[in-house]
Symmetry: C2
Subunit: 289 residues, 2 copies
């Protein structure tokens, strides 16, 4: 038996990185005090969601992983609390900026850095302006909380990275997020769609999924977005076992036995029955529609 | 605007193929009378679910597509009613037997034959004993009801065929099914898991999904299965818009505007943002877990 309690933090951000980071730390401490051994914070939690606008000056927010102040601070926190912390941050690497995630293990070591592969672009979510599409493979990271498959926000809409992480040995899928209203379509609420696509990844890959989103309205120059929260944890059948509302700052948590989940995954037989020789078109851009 | 009403038939089978076929025909007529232009019947509806047992003599049930009596009859029915009928049948082709699906268009023509690619094997579902894994590509078929992506039962557990059909131009995913209790694990009810994985395909590929399952207990020599119905239709966000219970013979239906769905699919941007160069391991058997 390998029991693991995981938590997702749903929080509101303001314009002061130091305040956001301090607030995030307080919430991580609270989740750890409640027994969580892995705590997932939302995407880019140190900042307001700056991609609402295309503002070149904001590129200066990015910093290299090796001297990123938030990473050093959360590494200390991970070690002090003995928790695994996947930390979303704005990474500079030479002339590129990436929307990255550092896997900080329970001993404070950085086990891996993943760079968001799927980059959205649209009113309110101008990410292609800021981020080079990631160049890192979809590889899970072995941590004190099992082999974690951590992706970032828009990646959640794609079956491919979830499946690749599962094929490479992930035991848990994590999605730090920043999603809410659509400035160009005020009537569109994608929250149900958003949940169902990730519940599908859990169900298809027979492993839990954790999604942590932000809440609150953030007003930009070009667009304003109201983040819809709705953070959730799904079990290995895709059923939601913990969930947050659309507005509260809150922590949700659930406990899994990773050994029991692994047995269920193997015994269900879907990986045995894949037909990779028929899947080649998944790896081409234009499959001839 | 391209309005399309689709229906799924949930039915009980007995041991007499002629009776099952006649019953299926009556239900198709009822669905068509109610305005459906595509009617989905369950997997292998002409027979009891014979894969409960491993019985070599049942291989004689298979027949070539070109002189399969049920296909000729349903082709006449499709033409008479002007409906599209994806017909699941047990196909013999030389020394191979396939779990196949013929796409019968509203003019009675066979537009394509798909052979189930993903074959389950386990107590109550001994399909690897009967069926050669399919050799046909995941190609949608252009019909009077749009470009349909028709798969068969266990295929529903895999994100890959759904995605490939979408990449190849499908507008609608169809899953004739035969699934229920697990003889070796009476406490296991996979119906929610089953629905969520297909809701995920709808949500990820931004297109409706139709699943038609059988109901009723079927007693075999080695195992008995109680089929759990729960047939459903999901919209392009994965939300269930029509559903059946676990026991009734019934017809469910929903109407979609395929043009509006195509706009939603394009405007959401997920196909634009795929990263095929990172997906190569999807097409290998052992990705190195």
């Amino acid at each position: 038996m390998r029991k693991l309690k995981v938590a997702a933090v749903q929080m509101r951000m303001n314009t002061e990185p130091e305040e956001n980071i301090g607030h995030a730390e307080a919430l991580v401490r609270e989740a750890a005090a409640d027994g969580a051994r892995l705590v997932l914070l939302p995407e880019l939690f140190a900042y307001p969601y700056f991609c609402k606008d295309k503002d070149r000056s904001l590129l200066s927010l990015a910093a290299p992983a090796k001297n990123h102040p938030a990473l050093a601070r959360f590494a200390d926190l991970a070690r002090a609390l003995g928790v695994v912390l996947p930390i979303s941050f704005f990474e500079r690497a030479g002339e590129n900026c990436f929307n990255s995630l550092a896997a900080l293990d329970a001993d404070g070591a950085t086990r891996g850095i993943y760079r968001k592969a799927h980059i959205p672009e649209g009113p309110g979510y101008e990410e292609k302006f800021y981020f080079t599409p990631g160049d890192t493979p979809f590889e899970p990271v072995a941590t004190a909380a099992g082999k974690i498959g951590a992706l970032v926000c828009w990646d959640q809409w794609f079956p491919e990275p979830a499946r690749l992480l599962a094929l490479h040995g992930a035991e848990l899928l994590l999605y730090p997020s920043a999603i809410g209203s659509e400035p160009q379509a005020p009537e569109l609420d994608s929250s149900g769609h958003w949940r169902r696509v990730m519940q599908g990844h859990a169900a298809a890959n027979v492993m839990p999924v954790v999604a942590a989103n932000r809440v609150g309205e953030e007003r930009g120059r070009d667009a304003s977005v109201t983040f819809y929260g709705s953070s959730f944890i799904a079990d290995h059948t895709g059923a939601i076992v913990a969930e947050a509302d659309r507005e509260s700052e809150t922590i949700i948590a659930a406990e899994f036995d990773l050994d029991a989940v692994a047995r269920a995954r193997r015994e269900w037989g879907v990986f045995r029955d894949r037909r990779p020789e028929l899947y080649r078109d998944l790896a081409v851009i234009d499959a001839g529609n």
